[in-house]
């Protein structure tokens, strides 16, 4: 058999994606995680970043938060914010950056939120369209 496993991205409104992949890299809460077939069962959070799904054609999604479960060669990503990279244009990207920067300058937010927002800004700024 091939070295592939199943990836599912599910949002509250619909199933965004179900496909096979060779490798997936995720922005987990405490750092980037790469997942190959037969990875041990894992449950973790996402921080803002890019999910990269490697197969014949690569797919990249931008996520803000979510929960990930990997078990029995089935990678399950529950998130309400997954956006396919190719569907984001320059205008909406700038909007997202501005919004995040406004929020991070707000002194009311907690350290955790600040941590998440800084990642969001970094990720967004590194996107070249």
């Amino acid at each position: 058999m091939s070295e592939q496993f199943t990836v599912e991205i599910i949002s509250p409104n619909e199933q965004t994606l179900k496909t096979e992949a060779r490798e997936v890299s995720l922005p987990a809460f405490e750092g980037e995680v790469g997942i190959l077939k037969n990875h041990i069962p894992l449950i973790t959070f996402l921080r803002p970043g890019l999910i990269k799904i490697f197969n014949e054609t690569d797919q990249i999604y931008f996520v803000e938060d979510g929960t990930v479960e990997f078990a029995n060669n089935n990678l399950l990503i529950l998130t309400s914010t997954a956006k396919l990279m190719s569907s984001i244009d320059k205008k909406s990207l700038e909007d997202l950056i501005n919004e995040a920067e406004d929020k991070i300058n707000d002194s009311e937010i907690s350290d955790k939120e600040r941590y998440l927002l800084s990642y969001k800004i970094d990720t967004l700024k590194n996107i070249n369209l």
Binding site: P12, N13, I40, P41, I43, T44, F45, T67, E69, N72
Partner: protein
């Protein structure tokens, strides 16, 4: 015996009612398709969420320190009941079915001497509940002006529930809504969301996987459980929306059919009395002619 004119008027009014119910049925049918799609699309998310949580629960080896949302406060006194109903009527037994189930539950809770708090979502439910249990309602929500209910609305309610829980306002939380089975069948449901019910805990013991957690289990749980509440509320919303349209469609279909039957009956009546009046006039003329 109503006069010919009266009958004519009645036939006309029944016919126009029939037109209205027919139109409502068609609108409901169109909305139903979308609502049903949404409900079906939303199911995997809440199911998987439950799965993850039950997996997490199994690997917790220290139940004493587990989050209260999961295992409960240890008390069994105050119940928070969240009743989800529609904002519009004319949908058959939809609203009353939920309310009936809820009221039965309220009664048995009160009989057991428990304290009761109610959050009513949807204006129709408020109307039905407040007569008997008005003093227990602590909060009302209505999303009448919203065209479609999104996750945001569910989050508002989820946060409210969380807020109350953190203030130790209740020990157990039950959600009342209609589960959409198919167009004709909607089953009113009472689902306990706090503490999380875990029936699968014992039955599926054999396929326990040892998960790797990042960060620690309890940290994940603490973040996931509040999210799960919103998710469950959202699921209930979606099921409810589909049920409402399904229920309205069948109700309006019945109404249209009944109106049709009524029109037929009235028309026969009308024709009969018209014939009777003609016959009567003829007899009068003939008997008048005979007497000459």
């Amino acid at each position: 015996m109503p006069s010919l004119d009266d009958l004519k008027k009645r036939i006309k009014s029944v016919k126009s009612t029939q037109k209205i119910t027919k139109a409502m049925k068609m609108v409901a049918a169109a909305k139903l398709r979308k609502a049903q799609e949404n409900a079906e699309k939303g199911r995997p998310y809440s199911q998987k969420m439950q799965n993850i949580i039950s997996n997490l629960t199994r690997s917790i080896n220290d139940p004493e320190n587990a989050p209260k949302l999961l295992v409960g406060t240890g008390k069994d006194e105050t119940y928070l009941c969240v009743v989800l109903t529609a904002d519009r009527g004319l949908c058959g037994g939809f609203n009353s079915n939920i309310c009936k189930l809820a009221k039965n539950n309220f009664k048995s809770l009160l009989e057991k001497g428990k304290k009761l708090k109610i959050i009513a979502v949807g204006s129709k439910g408020v109307d039905q509940i407040k007569r008997e249990f008005g003093k227990y309602i602590i909060k009302k929500f209505s999303f009448k002006e919203k065209k479609q209910i999104t996750f945001l609305e569910a989050e508002i309610i989820g946060k409210e529930i969380m807020h109350l829980f953190q203030n130790n306002e209740f020990d157990k939380c039950i959600l009342f809504y209609n589960n959409f089975k198919n167009v004709i069948t909607q089953i009113p449901q009472a689902q306990q969301i706090i503490p999380v019910k875990n029936d699968s805990l014992k039955t599926q013991k054999e396929d326990v996987l040892s998960y790797e957690f990042e960060p620690e289990e309890d940290e994940i749980l603490e973040d996931l459980l509040p999210k799960n509440i919103s998710t469950q509320v959202f699921k209930a919303f979606l099921e409810n929306a589909a049920s409402e349209q399904g229920s309205r469609m069948t109700a309006m279909d019945n109404a249209t059919r009944n109106a049709g039957e009524l029109v037929d009956k009235l028309t026969i009546n009308y024709n009969r009395s018209r014939q009777a009046s003609i016959t009567k006039e003829l007899i009068e003329i003939i008997s008048g002619a005979e007497s000459l």
